[in-house]
């Protein structure tokens, strides 16, 4: 395979796309958000359960490309146990990384497995795929007033 693709589809991503961490309808839940990427038809329905100021659990159902599915899986692994404020700042960090076109260095301490999405920054058409689950969580929290 040629170089650019390897940057995009890192092993970790392909692996998460198969593992689908957190897939399933979470019950009970506090917030829910359905998002759709009209360009390619990616869809996600994401549910979040809170525990005070922290994320207790995430669950998602959806279909889409490997990037969007992997990204949901990574998020579902990363978020539980973190405070809402912390999760929000990590969502922002991923957004900044993906929009940087390669100018920003990913920080594994902040992003966890999501550092693997650094390569997406060079593929502007895929940024929405990688952000889909994360934006869904962000909007679910906002709807909850958190």
């Amino acid at each position: 395979m040629s170089d650019p693709l390897a940057g995009l589809y890192q092993e970790l991503i392909l692996e998460h796309a198969k593992r689908r961490e957190g897939e399933g309808a979470l019950e009970p839940f506090d917030g829910e958000r359905f998002l759709r990427n009209p360009t390619c038809g990616d869809e996600i329905r994401l549910r979040v359960r809170l525990d005070g100021d922290a994320i207790d659990a995430l669950g998602w159902e959806g279909q889409g490309c490997s990037i969007s599915q992997a990204s949901a899986s990574v998020l579902a692994e990363l978020a539980p146990g973190l405070t809402i404020a912390d999760v929000r700042s990590r969502i922002e960090a991923l957004r900044e990384l993906l929009r940087s076109r390669g100018a920003v260095e990913p920080d594994e301490a902040v992003l966890g497995d999501a550092v693997a999405f650094a390569g997406v920054a060079r593929f502007p058409m895929r940024v929405k795929c990688a952000m889909l689950a994360w934006v869904a969580l962000e909007e679910a929290l906002t709807e909850l007033g958190r």
């Binding site: 040629s2 995009l8 038809g41 990037i67």
Partner: protein, 430 residues
Amino acid sequence: MTIGTQPALTEERIQQLRGDFPILAEQPVGVPLVYLDSGATSQQPRQVLEAEWAFRTRHNAAVHRGAHTLASLATDDYESARDRVARFVGARPTEISWAMNATDALNTVALSLAEANRAADVDPALALREGDEILVTEAEHHANLLPWQRLADETGARLRWVEVDDDGVWTADAALALITERTRVVAVAHVSNVTGLIAPLEPIVAAAHAVGALVVLDACQSVPHRRVDLGALGVDAAAFSGHKMLGPGGIGVLYLAERLGAALPPARVGGSMITTVTMTEREFLPAPQRFEAGTQPVSAIVGLAAAVDYLEGVGMAAIEAHEVALGERLAAGAVAIEGVRLVGPPPGVERAGLASVVVDGVHAHDVGQVLDAAGIAARVGHHCAQPLHRRLGVAATTRASTYLHTTEAEVDRFLDVLSTVRGYFGAGRA
């Protein structure tokens, strides 16, 4: 070898034509570009760019307005372009007016019918009432579906559709069964942008006209790739886009057969399409000016006429033969790959020079990315045909679409890379 009066598109001839298309020498990902997305938008030969450059630097002015010499030169260019585009599709010049794109042209027909329907003295030939029907197919592009949905909603008419089978194919019989005394409009794509299916127009036009229904043709994927004689087909209206036929963006063509053009009110109103205006009243010019409100995209029209000249120079019969062969090669090649599902007519049945496929277990977006890394520009998504994709049971397909500059080697390269996709994503492994 010649086809019609033009040389066939042999490998040698194609290589020669490719020299006219500057973009084909670009390497956006660092390897030679294989452009298989002409169905979305086509690339422009130097001749089109040069015609526009000459117009803009020598004759640019408002047409049909001023009395000065520059305006007169611009008007000549403009009307000459209309004549050439009209001749290209077997139309009279007065049957051709301009739009922003084909979507705009199709909207114009539907909006104008809605406007006609609101008139106090509705022309019975144009009237749409509750109980009337508008017929489309399940495979339509959104551009030839949404305007009719809305017209149906507004008038109380019922939208009906010809269903497709598991491959996305529909038949003349299915269409004819739905054309009844209630049918007022039949709107259908000449060639499907997803399946490559060529619509069985002849019986449909006959049946529609027998019940007094109008036939509106979405000719976006036919006019660029094969000889289309709209007058001979007998359709009442048709739409196509310059950017899909080697021409510039920003220019769509609206064909209104003389009888319809004479009856239809305009969708857009403003300058250059009126005879008399008072603060409360307005009277319109006859077609085609009636449908050309405001300053038209004259440079793009000049470019489109240059594209038409170029296509005629190459020969539409030669282009059609070449692309039909490439379509067959794509279809046959796709079904030969394990885990790849072909949409549309099976190999051996005529299709246009395009093919859409589904790769088992791999999302189309990922397929497109693997192709792109190999320099292959193909289109992934629902191709503005969500109902069709829903019927096929997939969110998205991957489409390769050809044009006169496409080589067999490019098609083979596409098929080659396509065959590696499942392995790459580990699909098919247990």
